[in-house]
Symmetry: C2
Subunit: 307 residues, 2 copies
DNA sequence: CTGTTAGCGCGTTCAT
DNA sequence: ATGAACGCGCTAACAG
């Protein structure tokens, strides 16, 4: 592979001029400009990305750590992210990690100057603190200031309104097990209920259970009536439906299951009503934040999705 | 971020010694070894991957260009590849590309010294020649010497044997539209048929049609009888089944559809018999080839998959 | 407008 | 065993 010196020699100019032409090309005589271009072309010269990185202290690489539980979910994100990144001439360095330890390790290995920044996607587990420049997408337990966060309050409100409109007023909620996401969701749920004159019944809200099965079990055991069930995502919805089926409770006739996040749903999957977030929108914001643009307090609003 | 000079200064040795200690070479007094280690730890020093790359002329990055038509297919490959690559301490630079032009562009952008090698996955379209170091996975129209290729002959044989065992002896084949893959598949089909005393009927083999619909149309119009249908992959199988349904032909009672490649099947998808290739095995071979190991003529054999 | 010089951070001689 | 010096390929600052 030829380097900048070869081009300079062939074009009869100095390295600096070659660099100027190929980088910002301002303030260069047209004659030498052409000479450089011609020489570069003749030698099939490609500037070395590494040498550039060393000088500029920037690699144009963004590390993406996929911590998605169900790998299928990651595909949509990856595609959306890659699209946004390549539009900004950034490269995507991919890494999968299925637990906190693996994430930490991935962060370590990617932060030897290899990446300009990191993105962690879909971590459902507790994450350790990190000093690197990291943005979190769809992660629970991540500092809000560094997260692309969904407007969960809005989602819950929208869901309750939809259900109310469909004469489902006994709405149960199996919430996130904690954190801001849980608070906001509950807030939206209560607000919308109030607006629609639906009395609040604490027994219909399950929080803090470690698994959906336990939560739903608790709900059913409590004996409280419900004809709609709000769950936090599609995976939960699937589980819930399977379990309701075991209990001979018909879906959606007896209980309408609603997913508060159906964004990573696959084409062939069962269509239950859900709030859907635009992966492209999320990716766009994430990339904007990486570039220092965008407002951290800005939240993504989902769309009601029902056939 | 601290650099090698800082460490050298703090450890009261020269850069060279620091480098020796951290690069594992022997011949360093134990005292200075410890001093360096201590200093590096104190400064939280990480050698710069980029500076290393510049001197070593190797980045440990492998570019992966996903040209998969249905993006869901890529997930399995990506996961398998990332696993193998990270085991060899390599990084995965991801790129999606949906046509030949996009692939070319991706190759261009990734080959400025940024990657040590490239991997193209799942291209179903014609690819241009490229001079970079590239390995092709699951691509049609790629030089055999650079491909991780499946033993299609074996797959077709296995399929025919399976069908014959299930009393389906009128086996139609909608083959690849050309290339070595088509030849091998046909070869396997004929060999197995011969072994099982199934007479060969050219009308049952459709080749060179641009789409499955056209091919199947042609097959049906020809009026030839068939009670089994071999197609090249799951996407084709889905289409075929939809079309057979339109024709009121019951699957599998009247026609058993068999997919010659069901590797990237999703969990929830309809289970038809298929040959499945181990994504891990494929990824392993691909990485081995990148590292200069492995035998180019070695082909991956699939496994019969039926519920 | 252009050439020269000095790094970016590290690995690797080559002397000592 | 170890330090000084050079080079990887490129860009930025400074002269001219």
């Amino acid at each position: 592979m030829s380097n900048i010196n070869d081009v300079a020699r062939l074009a009869q100019v100095s390295k600096a001029t070659v660099s100027r032409v190929l980088s910002g090309s301002r303030g260069v005589k047209e004659a030498s400009r052409l000479a450089v271009l011609r020489a570069a072309d003749a030698l099939n010269y490609k500037p070395s990305a590494i040498a550039r990185s060393l000088t500029n202290q920037t690699t144009h690489c963004i590390g993406v750590i996929c911590a998605t539980e169900h790998v299928q979910q990651s595909t949509g994100y990856l595609q959306a992210l890659e699209k946004q990144l390549s539009q900004h001439r950034k490269h995507l360095l991919l890494r999968f990690a299925s637990d906190a330890h693996a994430v930490t390790q991935a962060v370590d290995e990617l932060s030897g100057g290899l990446c300009d920044a990191l993105l962690v996607v879909g971590a459902r587990f507790a994450l350790p603190e990190m000093q690197e420049e990291v943005i979190f997408i769809d992660c629970l337990s991540a500092p809000a200031a560094l997260s692309i966060s969904c407007d969960r309050r809005f989602a819950a409100q929208t869901a309750v309104e939809y259900l109310s409109r469909h004469q489902r007023r006994d709405i149960a909620l199996i919430n996130f097990s904690g954190g801001e996401a849980a608070q906001e969701t509950l807030l939206g749920y209560r607000e919308a209920a109030e607006n629609h004159l639906i009395p609040f019944n604490r027994q219909r809200v399950i929080e803090g259970e470690s698994s959906l099965r336990l939560a739903l079990q608790k709900l059913i055991n409590s004996g409280v009536k419900f004809n709609a069930l709000l769950v936090t995502d599609d995976a939960q919805a699937q589980e819930a439906m399977a379990m309701l089926d075991d209990y001979q409770i018909r879906v959606p006739e007896q209980v309408l299951v609603f997913s508060l996040d159906g964004s990573t749903r696959l084409p062939g999957q069962a269509a239950i009503p859900a709030i859907e977030y635009s992966l492209e929108g999320i990716a766009r914001r994430a990339v904007a934040r990486l570039l220092g643009l965008g407002d951290p307090s800005d939240r993504v609003r989902g769309t009601l999705l029902c056939d």
